[in-house]
């Protein structure tokens, strides 16, 4: 007796697969966990109120007011394209210019905003400050390529510190040049 072969009709399988595919295509949100990372200072009350004397020359002042206007070292600045180079020069001054920093580990970029400053401007300025430091690190890490490529490579390395080889490069690049961007308590001219 010839046995009936137990077939499952599979002509509709492709349709089902496409339907599922379409469903997941539509509902997918590939999460975007990328951005500017910073470390907040310890809680206000935990810090003993000590007078830290930092010499004027070691501070690079960046101020933004409630109308998103920028002051760099007390001077208004409209075109921010040269700011990154200014910060790099300031950090790597090593005492050459008496008005600029003593050494990279003493250099501090002080970034002060107002409560009315928009988040967009804040991110733009913080981005420039971090870019200056990442450029310096990338150069010291001895990566290859253009400045932009080096910077990108370095940030990829810095994002994956679980890898010991990456950690080694990262620590070597940062040796003696900590990223000291101080985000000061904002003034209260604009906003609530």
């Amino acid at each position: 007796m010839a046995r009936a072969t137990p077939d499952i009709p599979n002509a509709s399988m492709a349709d089902i697969a496409f339907l599922l595919l379409t469903f997941f295509l539509v509902t997918t949100t590939i999460s975007n966990d990328r951005g500017l990372s910073i470390q907040l200072p310890p809680p206000p009350e935990a810090q003993p109120p000590e007078d830290v004397k930092v010499q004027e020359r070691n501070i690079f002042k960046v101020q933004v007011n409630s109308a998103d206007r920028v002051l760099i070292e007390g001077e208004p600045m409209e075109d921010l394209s040269g700011l990154k180079e200014m910060i790099k020069k300031f950090v790597l001054n090593n005492g050459a210019d008496p008005n600029s920093s003593d050494s990279p580990d003493k250099a501090i970029v002080s970034f002060k905003t107002d409560r009315g400053t928009s988040h967009k401007k804040f991110i733009e300025m913080l981005d420039i400050c971090q870019a200056a430091y990442y450029d310096i690190y990338a150069e010291r890490a001895g990566l290859s390529g253009s400045m932009e490529e080096m910077n990108k490579k370095f940030r990829e390395i810095a994002s994956d510190l679980a890898n010991p080889a990456n950690k080694e490069i990262y620590e070597r690049a940062r040796e003696g040049i900590p990223m000291q961007i101080s985000i000061a308590e904002p003034t209260k001219v604009g906003g609530n």
């Binding site: 595919l21 997918t28 966990d33 500017l36 994002s159 904002p186």
Partner: protein
Amino acid sequence: MSKFKKKANVKQDIPTSSMPDVVFMLLFFFMVTTQLRETSIEVQQRIPEATQLRKLQRKTLVTNLYIGKPVKVEQYGEEPKIQANDTFIEPSGIGKWVNAERDKLREDEREQLTVSLKVDSEAKRGIIVDVETELRKANARKLLYNTREFSKNNR
């Protein structure tokens, strides 16, 4: 002349036998990457752009705070608000929220909690600073300002 004739003889079928495989591969890709959003975001989210992005490796350690003008302006007003999970919270409630988020993590990873701030471009620094102060008090000091990759057509 004979050139044209030859061409006509070539078989013109595209092999379709591998199509199911391709479809299934795509299907699995999207199944794996999909995150069904359990919260709907009630505040405006036009995330600013930046160039110096850093990627976060451990997604389980990340928790989101959304800040921006409420979408339902007539109900909640024009002032930017803070959304955590499904509800609006005041800055004073952040400490409690951080602790609740910490409890979701494994015990040895609690200190590594990273707060990702998804802030609308138009929000003011004032409210963000209030949030930061509360985060400092709660000792959740790893912070990420969520941004998009900078595209060349503005700034």
